[in-house]
């Protein structure tokens, strides 16, 4: 699959069909990949596909000028579709090289499970529904569902629905939707006040690095309300009240665009369970409007459309 990708990407650049290729190359740390964004056809030999290609590369589409060939997992392709729906990118300017994705390994889960950091793990190998981890020469097997990212566990389209080239046959993804929304279930079971206290405490840790926003393909505004000073909606200081409002509004602003790719939670340096917000919003949108983001590039975006009769009973 990797060779097919490299050859395809090289051809795209050589034939002038795209100006840029966006994909993954090996990172500088163990079990890490890093985005490769290049115009140079010699670079594409570094492209890789492995169980650690966690980034949602579609975030780079809105900042590159020209035509782009992009490597996309199922969730990434949904983000691309959503960007097309919002007219942020034009379909004809993108060549999607689709990867049927069997799920991405969450290194934080590996670390918690083993009680040691990733750089002290020798090897992690994916073998179907098992993951074999080697530590100090000793191999241990774990069920894949214990080690995939939460959002992978409820993935609705492991294989891209929108693509120009599909690099492999569809491969099965083992999901566990109950595990995927376990944190949400716990929250829903709490009394109302306790839920608010939970989020207060979480957002007390926020340092306002804006990684969650900057990495989100759905957060494509050129100017964000948090940076507005006239009027000053929230202060740009890491205080829980301002942090919390920032995140609530961000979630509302991306409702109908968020595809539950999980990137915001993955990148949070202070481990705020952001997906417990985005995933719930994703569900609310589905419950109220039977709408799933990034599934149909011809569909009007959620917030610029309406039905005559919907969402009854919530307004007096």
């Amino acid at each position: 699959m990797e060779q097919k990708l490299r050859d395809g990407a090289k051809t795209l650049l050589e034939e002038g069909k795209v100006d840029y290729i966006i994909g993954f190359e090996p990172g500088s740390l163990k079990f890490t990949t890093t985005p490769l964004i290049t115009k140079n056809k010699d670079d594409v030999d570094r492209l890789v596909i492995n169980p650690f290609i966690k980034n949602n590369l579609s975030v780079f589409l809105t900042e590159l000028k020209g035509r782009v060939g992009i490597v996309a997992k199922g969730c990434d392709s949904r983000s691309i579709v959503s960007l097309i729906q919002d007219k942020q990118v034009a379909r004809e300017n993108i060549v999607i090289m689709g990867i049927p994705c069997p799920g991405i390994i969450d290194l934080k889960k590996v670390e918690l499970l083993l009680g040691r950091d990733r750089d002290e793990v020798d090897d992690i190998t994916r073998d179907g529904d098992k993951v074999v981890i080697t530590v100090e020469g000793k191999k241990t097997e774990f069920p894949t569902t214990k080690l995939l990212f939460d959002n992978c566990l409820s993935c609705e389209s492991p294989t891209p629905q929108e693509y120009d080239v599909l690099l492999d046959e569809t491969s099965p993804l083992v999901t566990d939707s109950a595990a995927s929304r376990e944190k949400i279930k716990t929250l829903e079971a709490m009394p109302q006040e306790q839920r608010w206290e939970f989020w207060k405490e979480k957002f007390d840790h926020c340092i306002r690095c804006y990684a969650c926003r900057n990495v989100c393909p759905a957060c494509f505004c050129k100017r964000c309300f948090v940076e507005e000073s006239q009027p000053q909606w929230v202060l740009p200081v890491p205080r829980w009240q301002d942090n919390l409002i920032f995140q609530v509004i961000r979630n509302i602003h991306v409702a109908g665009r968020c595809t539950d790719c999980g990137e915001c939670e993955r990148v949070c340096p202070v481990n705020i369970p952001l997906r417990s917000l985005t995933k719930r919003m994703y569900e609310i949108v589905d419950e109220l409007f039977q709408y799933k983001s990034g599934m149909d590039k011809e569909a009007p975006p959620l917030m610029s459309h309406y039905e005559q009769e919907e969402a009854e009973g919530l307004i007096r």
Binding site: Q241, I245, V248, L288, Y306, L314, R316
Partner: protein, 142 residues
């Protein structure tokens, strides 16, 4: 701490100028009494209300927020209130999930001729806010 007996809920209303604002006006001129607890901001359309306004009002210490616009189908700008509806219900559901009492953020459709309905809505919302007590959402500590 404010004394329980002195405390009165403060409600911020964003009212569409074409209908609910006129409705509130009608309630006033026809001497239908609605609670003085509501402070009204006139907006060109319920579609103008960004969920940010709601959060900002709660942050500023209002005990509740009411958004009121034209009945579905009656929008002066054809579709403003339909769009508002999607935004409002999403915000309402989401805030509830986060732990905000759903009674703190309410919405209603009130036409220019419904002075009575406006009085009812304002009275009921104020009553509900009295029941749930002062907004402590953004207060430090606990």
């Amino acid at each position: 701490m404010e004394q329980e007996s002195e405390w009165e809920p403060k409600l911020l209303g964003f009212l569409c100028r074409w209908c609910s604002y006129a409705g509130a006006d009608l309630a006033g001129t026809s001497r239908k009494k609605y609670p003085a607890n509501i402070k009204i901001i006139k907006v060109p359309c319920s579609g103008r209300v960004d969920p940010l306004f709601i959060l900002k009002a709660l942050r500023m210490g209002y005990d509740g927020v009411l958004v009121s616009g034209c009945h579905p189908g009656d929008c002066h700008y054809q579709t403003g209130n339909y769009r508002a509806r999607r935004r409002i219900v999403i915000t309402k559901k989401f805030l509830e999930y986060m732990g905000v009492d759903p009674r703190r953020f309410q919405a209603s459709w009130v036409s220019a001729s419904e002075g009575v309905k406006f009085t009812e809505v304002a009275t009921e919302v104020t009553k509900e806010l009295s029941e749930i007590g002062a907004n402590q959402l953004f207060v430090d500590g606990k």
